[in-house]
Amino acid sequence: MTSRKVAKRGFNLDYVMWLFMRLSALAMYAVGLTGLTAALVMGARTQTDLSTLVRWTFFQNPSHVFSSDIVVLDNFINQFWQIMQITMVFFGVTHGLNGLRIVVEDFMGSTIWRTLWRGFIFFAWIFITLVAIYVVLAS
């Protein structure tokens, strides 16, 4: 079969976000699985309950798991895990709020409500991301 090429298409928010939704989903899997494995390796296997384990999986922050039974918290207090946390927060929040945007835009025509929602989602995105990053860096 002959190979045919067409020029790549220009920027389109819906395409970019479509791709982002999928890639961020994969990224969250990556971070989550790393967190989970690490938590298990570092002792959660025997010592902790389910919800704590989930907290470790998704947000490996010492202050997030104040009641944790994991003995050696120190292993989690380093820059690697901070980066992991920020990645998780960024992808999770962006993914979730963009999801919200998609749902809203599906059910709302181009009215003023749509614009308001967009604005609201944008500020919520900035706010939550910043707050979360602050929590990560401050603890």
Partner: protein, 235 residues
């Protein structure tokens, strides 16, 4: 012979302000089509019942309706294939209902026309046919089967939610040309589909594929179009 209860969506714009349902009890053969039942009701019970039909064997695309909540061609759905003895027939969703089962198909055809659903090749014509290998022809054989019945687009929740979405049928017909090795309009069609209301409105919900009476792998075709946009390659 089998006894069934037929429940029909009724709406007459000239006399009704809102739709209602009529129920009929019929004796039918298991090999009767849903279309035969509608004909029976129209012929012997109530001549005002209105629906579109022509070919009566699933190739013209006139008779897409919701049969027991699912998009079907009335002429391709046999009574023996319906589990229940109660059959509800309603118009397809997402298009304005004009009368009984008849919906306004204009929005559907408008979307279809948006994707340039026609062969484009500005080269000088060869003396005989264009040469195209069997494999090249098979590349778009599936999507060339489309009979424009609308069952797919009107079963798509993404389309229900936002009727500006061009819908699966339009993408299927774009696919038929984008992947035709003789055609030269792929770039423009991909441009059109890479739009806010284009192919990325598809959420891989599969209702379309399940609804298609021609058994076209619609979601796959849409996926291939998405991939072509992302990679710039048509292989």
């Amino acid at each position: 012979m089998k006894k069934i209860t037929l429940k029909l969506f009724r709406y007459n714009p000239e006399t009704d302000t809102k739709p209602h349902y009529d129920t009929y009890k019929l004796e039918v053969e298991p090999t009767d089509r849903v279309l035969d039942l509608l004909e029976k009701v129209k012929g012997y019970e109530d001549g005002t019942l209105s629906f579109r039909r022509s070919c009566a064997h699933g190739v013209c695309g006139s008779c897409a309706m919701r049969v027991n909540g699912e998009n079907k061609l009335a002429c391709k759905t046999l009574i023996q294939d319906i589990k229940s003895s109660k059959i509800t027939v309603e118009p397809i969703l997402g298009m304005p209902v004009l009368k009984d089962m008849i919906v306004d198909m204009e929005p559907f055809f408008d979307n279809y026309k948006k994707v340039m659903p026609y062969f484009i090749n500005d080269d000088p014509k060869p003396e005989k046919e264009h040469i195209q290998s069997i494999e090249e022809q098979e590349r778009f054989d599936d999507t060339a089967k489309c009979i424009l019945c609308g069952a797919c687009t009107t079963s798509c929740p993404s389309f229900w939610a936002n009727d500006e979405y061009v819908g699966p049928a339009a993408i299927v017909n774009a696919h038929r040309f984008i992947f035709d090795s003789r055609d030269q309009g792929a770039a423009e069609r991909l441009q059109i589909l890479n739009d806010q209301f284009g192919v990325y409105r598809c959420r891989t919900i599969f209702n379309c594929t399940l609804a298609c009476p021609r058994e076209i792998e619609i979601t796959k075709a849409i996926g291939e179009v998405k991939k072509a946009i992302a990679t710039g390659s048509l292989d």
